[in-house]
């Protein structure tokens, strides 16, 4: 009697922690739903440009390149520059849309909303629809479902399939939030979208069904995801998502996307496993829990649950198999801590009391040691150093809303840091802290550059002064005037030749000499009598031949002459332009240098002001994050202390039981 009364509470409390009233598995489902948000917003921020749709403004393409390579800050800066310089002739609306998406990705939701709202009045229908969709996403993300629905209503009727899918997915999420599960289920059952979102749509359908009370069908939907069988809910065909197929084929690109889906699959299996445990369907629970990937962060919870499922089936050896695998894992993980208690429990059930006592001792020792380490780490928690250590291996160097710290530095404190970075509030704060650090670096870089800018302006000014002292351009005006007159004269002469068809005027020097000799002979022949007729015939023949040759060559020569004069006129024009620029430079350059100086001077206080603000924000975030860390460590300590107490009680009970057994009946 005492035996069971001492152990059942332990088991019951464990169950309470893990899956009592379904709270835990619903929590997992809600967490998974958050994935859908992040994914949709990431898509929302993507511009609708592909290689098949060529970019017509280089500056827009330049911003797109930065966007696609993940430098959102650089992309936004380039778009703002292009807007300022008015180089977005063809992609004005696209650029605005991208900028709005970048603001969104950059955590600046107010600015994003302003951009999208501005687009509504003037943009093409397809751009307008996208703007409405983004506005709806923003509103929903902020928990303003009324505004989100109004924005969705603003979308037109002629939407392409992708937009219909996104719209319906958001509508279903709103319906789930508002607990209109019938509406959500209807929307999701009819949902027809691409592979990218199909897993999420199906997951949401499972969630909506479960929360609506249709646990069996909801579980079936989740189970399909758990098995990796994804289909758009409205489709009759199961299919492996496109990105999974790529992954299966060995594409490196899709590994990340695969991980995303694998995580969803693991969470579905874990949630289903706990649900089945709650329904006391241990065999089914074990099946789901065993499907959780061994590489998953949820693996420890799955192992623990699988152990309890085995216990339900009376198979304590199998349970020990699952739990023993957790023994060497992170002792801050509640699942691992519980396993340390569950192992001796199973040993006692198997009648191995001495083994159980030994395991309890080990558990107590580990809990005490962990509490000691935790105290020691918390005492040494230096606000700035602790955050800097956390970001030591962060080499991404960019800001962004979608950033998450995925790895922590390899140090004795890493175990604690892992738990911190898994916390959403901590990640959000850390993201801001990191963003401000990056902004500060950017500001310091500009501050440094401004000094160099001063040097450059001064160097240019000195060079200018030196050149001005040499009096450049002096006399050039007169030379250009003379040249202009000569070119104009040549043009007049050419016009005369062309009007008169004066083929001789374009003859070569040699031809001119010959032509002059023929003329001279002609004059001499004019004074002779009829005895010179034969000579006249020869002269006329030669003159005719010469004229024929000159006429034949004339068009090419006239064209060549025209080209030469045109080239001269162009050179002249360039010279005049240069002279005009030189004159302008003489007037404007001092003003230009002064303008640069003024702009640099104005930037200095702006940078200093922002640096002060950045330092203040860093300090505030350090305090905030250290507070969160402290709270989390407190929670760890409280839980460890509770487990320690539980282990001590259980140990006492085991000794008691052992003593009774030795005494005999």
């Amino acid at each position: 009697m005492r035996h069971s009364s001492l152990h059942l509470p332990l088991r019951d409390r464990s169950r309470h922690r893990l899956y009592s009233k379904g709270a835990e598995w619903l929590k997992w489902i809600k967490l998974c739903s958050l994935l859908v948000l992040g994914f949709v917003l990431l898509i929302a921020a993507s511009p609708n440009v592909t290689a098949a749709e060529p970019v017509k403004d280089l500056s827009y393409g330049d911003a797109l390149f930065e966007f696609y390579r993940g430098d959102y800050f650089g992309s936004a800066t380039k778009l703002l520059v292009a807007k300022q310089q008015q180089t977005l002739e063809h992609h004005r609306d696209d650029a605005e849309l991208l900028l709005g998406g970048l603001y969104l990705s950059y955590g600046q939701q107010d600015q994003a909303a302003t951009v999208f709202e501005a687009l509504l009045d003037k943009a093409e229908p397809n751009v307008r629809d996208r703007a409405w969709l983004y506005l709806a996403e923003i509103a929903w993300q902020r928990g303003n479902n009324v505004r989100a629905k109004m924005a969705l209503d603003g979308m037109g009727d002629k939407l392409d399939d992708e937009f219909v899918a996104r719209k319906q997915l958001l509508e279903s999420r709103i319906a789930i939030d508002e607990e209109r599960f019938d509406d959500a289920i209807t929307l999701l059952e009819e949902w027809q979208g691409g592979d990218q979102l199909a897993a999420y749509a199906q997951f949401n359908l499972g969630v909506a069904m479960v929360r609506h009370g249709n646990v069996d069908e909801g579980s079936r939907q989740l189970a399909r995801i758990g098995k990796g069988k994804i289909r758009p809910p409205g489709s009759s065909i199961f299919r492996l998502p496109e990105r999974w197929r790529f992954w299966s084929a060995g594409s490196r690109k899709s590994v990340e996307k695969h991980s995303e889906h694998q995580a969803l699959q693991d969470k579905a299996n874990l949630a289903l496993g706990f649900a089945q445990l709650q329904k006391e369907n241990a065999a089914q629970a074990g099946e789901y829990l065993r499907r959780v990937s061994s590489a998953s962060a949820l693996n420890s919870k799955a192992r623990l649950g699988a152990g309890w499922a085995a216990v339900e089936l009376g198979n304590y050896t199998t349970a020990l198999g699952h739990w023993n695998r957790l023994k060497g894992e992170d002792r801050l993980d509640p699942a691992v801590q519980e396993a340390l208690l569950a192992i001796p429990f199973a040993h006692r059930r198997l009648g191995k009391d001495q083994q159980a006592i030994s395991e309890y001792h080990q558990a107590i020792s580990q809990f005490e040691s962990e509490i000691e380490h935790l105290n020691s780490f918390q005492q040494s928690l230096d606000h700035g150093d602790f955050l800097n250590a956390l970001l030591a291996d962060d080499t991404a160097g960019k800001v962004g809303w979608f950033w998450r710290l995925k790895t922590v530095p390899d140090s004795p404190q890493s175990r604690y840091l892992y738990h911190l970075v898994a916390d959403h509030a901590f990640q959000e704060g850390l993201k801001n802290y990191r963003d401000v650090l990056y902004l500060k670096e950017n500001l310091l870089e500009w501050k440094n550059n401004l000094g160099a800018f001063h040097t450059i302006v001064n160097a240019q000014r000195d060079r200018y002064t030196e050149q001005m002292n040499r009096q450049p351009g002096e006399g050039l005006d007169g030379q250009l005037q003379t040249l202009t007159a000569r070119v104009a004269s040549a043009r007049t002469e050419l016009n005369r030749i062309q009007r008169a068809n004066d083929v001789v005027a374009l003859a070569t020097e040699e031809e001119m000499t010959t032509w002059a000799r023929l003329k001279a002979v002609e004059q001499k022949l004019a004074g002779l009598d009829s005895r010179a007729d034969e000579a006249r015939r020869k002269h006329a023949f030669l003159k005719g031949v010469m004229q024929w040759n000159l006429s034949q060559a004339y068009p090419a020569r006239a064209w060549e002459k025209t080209k030469q004069i045109r080239a001269l006129e162009e050179q002249l024009s360039l010279g005049q332009e240069r002279l005009a620029r030189l004159d302008l430079a003489k007037t404007l350059s001092p003003e230009r240098f002064d303008g640069f100086d003024r702009r640099i001077e104005l930037a200095v206080p702006r940078i200093d002001h922002l640096l002060t603000q950045a330092d203040r924000a860093l300090g505030a975030h350090q305090a905030y994050l250290a507070g969160l860390a402290g709270e989390q460590f407190d929670a760890h300590r409280q839980r460890l202390t509770a487990y320690l107490t539980e282990a001590q009680f259980a140990l006492a009970s085991a000794y008691d039981q052992s003593a009774l057994a030795q005494e005999g009946p």
Binding site: A51, R69, K78, G107, Q613, H621
Partner: protein, 175 residues
Amino acid sequence: MKTKKLSVCLTAIGCLAMVAHAEERTSFTNLDGEVQNLKKELMSLNRDLFILEEELLFPANTQVSVFVSMDVGEYFALDSVELKLNGKKVSSYLYTEREAEALLRGGVQRLFVGNLKAGDHELVAVFTGMGPNNREYRRGATLEFEKTLSPKFVELKIEDQTRNMQPEFAVREWD
């Protein structure tokens, strides 16, 4: 009795945690608002300084910019592009997978910006990459162009040639 006490205790802890959470959220909202304003001001400053830097370092009358874009099937993986201006190497860029994909998706990279005096110049570009069946490609293009007193923009587009189904450079001068 013991269990009841424990549950009361847990409820109390739960309530405290909820209050603490609400305060934490308010505090984070304020911090987040400050950071948003900071980002907004910095973006504006960045834009102004970017323009200042460009006007100062690359005045319009001497500025030359070379852009790279791609319009090829997705089975061509760009490795590198090398640029020579008047026989002098001015850029040699190795692409990451993500950058090559950015080009494939319609991005246009400003690979080089510099200064050239007015007159005739020669640009030589060479790209290397990997096609289907691990076939290596190395292609080049030469452009002789005149630099006037306006900024010069040159786009090097790597595109499929239907004639031989292989990637080639197409050079385009922008006004």
